[in-house]
Subunit: 426 residues, 2 copies
């Protein structure tokens, strides 16, 4: 068992991986009841440790302030108002159905073999994230619920907080006779450990990065372990001729302004030319009061006119994830042009159509290959909680394993179970 | 459109990738009927081109013989007796159900959103294989059936044959108004192209290696594209005290001798100590006539005695995939010791138990995490055809995406489809 400390000078990642693998065998064996009891104990332990956690968090925040971190980042670090909610979420995870052990595709073959696939844990997760200490608890609870061990590597700005959180988690594990190594933290700010972690393919079964595009790129380029990439989106709506305009404005407003800094937020609006002159001025009028500024292509600019908050779109503006109250505007001649634009500029996260034309909607939903496609609903729904998964560990935009929000089932894999009474292969 | 030729001196892989991506859009749009008609035309085209294909194959074989290739490899290259069967398999793929477009996990959320997941093609497959020209046709037909484009890189010994096969395939594509670039071959023996291919993450969605451990390792270490690893196995049976001995001998014989050079063949037999003295001599007696030789641990050696064909197991013998008529023998004190041995030495391919004890069987099937686990049936059944998938593109032993035999469904992914009537996120 390792109790991580911020003072650790050398960490043997190979040994951590080996211990995680061993612990994964123990947690994989736990029954659903055992895992749920463990999660409740984990929540209790976080409550007991709350003073120590908040004290560590205060020191992290003080240091962050001294180092000149911005207010938005400091707010993300701050657990004071969030810890109770985080603990409540752990108790909620205990109430969710356990995917492990479920059988599917059961069949009996003509030779009498009984064949099925059975859900099993992935094994050891490697999760690399930035300065959100809530992720530490969230990921640990989802990993344990699905019978996985996890090695965590959080942002450097929150190291003391993460050490305090993992100490509380490991205490709960040990009290439930599960090796504390089922949840381990790389308790160092040294980036060399990230590079080492990405090569631990002998022990880690999947790398899940949670952060910006550069973190995902780093993992993709350096990992010998399968990586789930995602979490980055350039999101589009195509407004078709037949769109209900009031409802569409409402959806566009929500998709752009309800949480501008997240990956399922609208970046570009494509408007059919036949309604552009009527609809575009309404878009500007509707979103301007929320502080949205616009990057307009030539046709759009001719309609709405340049202004302080309406400027010509530059060459790479349609390839930019804004993460801010900025919206690209582009007039298209047809749905095909819209689909081509999306194919060229989307990052396969969330794209939608606003239309009353069922045939167009069906064709759009078929031909756009993003992780989630929307018809007359906000792209902001591309989220595990919002789509009914109960929880979410990440949003994938890659093709392999899982796409879109990853819930509990996406933290499992399966094995084939073949039962016979002496069958041999001819 | 590119017609590959063996004389190509420089290949622009980036351009190939770009064309494959464009072609993938066209093949993804094709209906099931269109794809099935295409497959039948592809089979016809292979028939029409048979003289040219067999002539190219003869030249490859002559060169292989001149270069001193072994008989086993030459046999694998030879299409003369196989081409008709390969063509028949293409027609069979046309009869299989198409997974693309299927909806699953359909639900209506409390806010009225209709949510489902819909199966879509993976996009562009990159398949790297060795000297089996049948793979060229097999993979192309499975890729097209599932709406995927594919870039093929076959073994150098079979380049001319592959060029002839892909020429026939591309002719059928063009006749069906599908871009011929949906099936492309890297028509060069230069290994530098493999390295380039593994970095084409902008265009290729998944790399599927089909070959030995070193090819899989190369892909895992160098690819920035997700890789499906597998195809290598160290397979075990644990013979429990209660095993039916005659039936077990029959299964062991089948698992070891029916096709010694493939990955689901038995490598190590673990025998419970309580029946070892009785059962081990029967194993030797039963398998010796088939030419099997034995690597025995100390306890096993004491029972059966050393002989020309029974030698002491060396240190790494239990970590060897034999690919030959060799069987490791080891006596264990308990099922737990057997499971621990499998956990330490298996490559997660195919492992089984021979027992009449249901509780032991269930525990073994639960605790061994291999891609397929067997109870009283031969490990040789770990195969897409044998497990009822209709076809197989590879056997995966990794945790992500697919495990065990990969059929048509495993060549697809999904997207979330969200249909509303104005819903926004609160």
């Amino acid at each position: 068992m390792m109790t991580p400390t911020a003072e650790t000078t050398h960490i043997d990642l190979n040994a951590m991986g080996k211990r995680a693998k061993a612990a994964s065998v123990a947690i994989a064996r736990a029954t659903t009841n055992q895992k749920n009891a463990l999660l409740l104990a984990l929540a209790d332990s976080l409550e007991t440790h709350t003073p120590a956690i908040l004290e560590a968090n205060r020191v992290d925040l003080d240091e962050g302030r001294a180092n000149g971190l911005g207010e938005a980042l400091l707010d993300r670090l701050d657990l004071l108002k969030r810890l109770a909610g985080i603990i409540a979420d752990v108790r909620y995870v205990a109430t969710l159905p356990d995917p492990v052990g479920k059988s599917f595709d059961e069949r009996t073959l003509p030779n009498g073999l009984r064949v099925s696939r059975r859900r099993i844990p992935l094994g050891v997760l490697g999760v690399i994230y930035e300065a959100r200490p809530n992720v530490t608890v969230e990921v640990a609870s989802l990993a344990l619920k699905t019978g996985n061990a996890v090695i965590l590597r959080g942002g450097k700005e929150t190291l003391r907080t993460n050490v305090a959180l993992v100490t509380a988690i490991q205490e709960a594990l040990a009290a439930h006779h599960i090796p504390a190594d089922a949840v381990q933290l790389i308790a160092s700010t040294d980036r060399a450990y990230v590079a080492q972690m990405l090569k631990l393919d002998q022990y880690i079964d999947v790398i899940i990065p949670r952060g910006g595009a550069s973190l995902h790129q780093l993992c993709k380029e350096n990992s010998t372990i399968p990586v789930i990439t995602g979490g980055v989106g350039i999101c589009h709506f195509f407004v078709d001729v037949s769109a209900k305009q009031e409802a569409s404005l409402n959806i566009i407003h929500n998709a752009k302004t309800s949480r501008p800094s997240v990956c399922n937020t609208l970046d570009t609006l494509l408007i059919h030319r036949d309604i552009a002159a009527e609809f575009l001025p309404k878009v500007v009028q509707h979103l301007r009061p929320a502080g949205v500024t616009f990057k307009a292509d030539e046709s759009a600019l001719q309609i709405v006119g340049a202004a302080d908050d309406i400027t010509p779109a530059a060459a790479d503006d349609f390839d930019t994830e804004w993460m801010a109250l900025v919206l690209g505007l582009k007039v298209v001649d047809s749905m095909d042009e819209a689909i081509d634009h999306i194919r060229a500029h989307s990052l396969d996260h969330s794209d939608g159509i606003l239309t009353e034309d069922t045939a167009n909607a069906e064709r759009f939903l078929n031909e756009v290959m993003s992780s989630a496609v929307f018809w007359n609903a906000s792209t902001r729904f591309n989220d595990g909680g919002a789509l009914g998964l109960g929880a979410e560990v990440a949003v994938s935009t890659q093709k392999l394993h899982a796409r879109g929000p990853m819930g509990l089932e996406e933290l499992t894999t399966y094995k084939w179970v073949v039962i016979g009474d002496g069958q041999i292969r001819g």
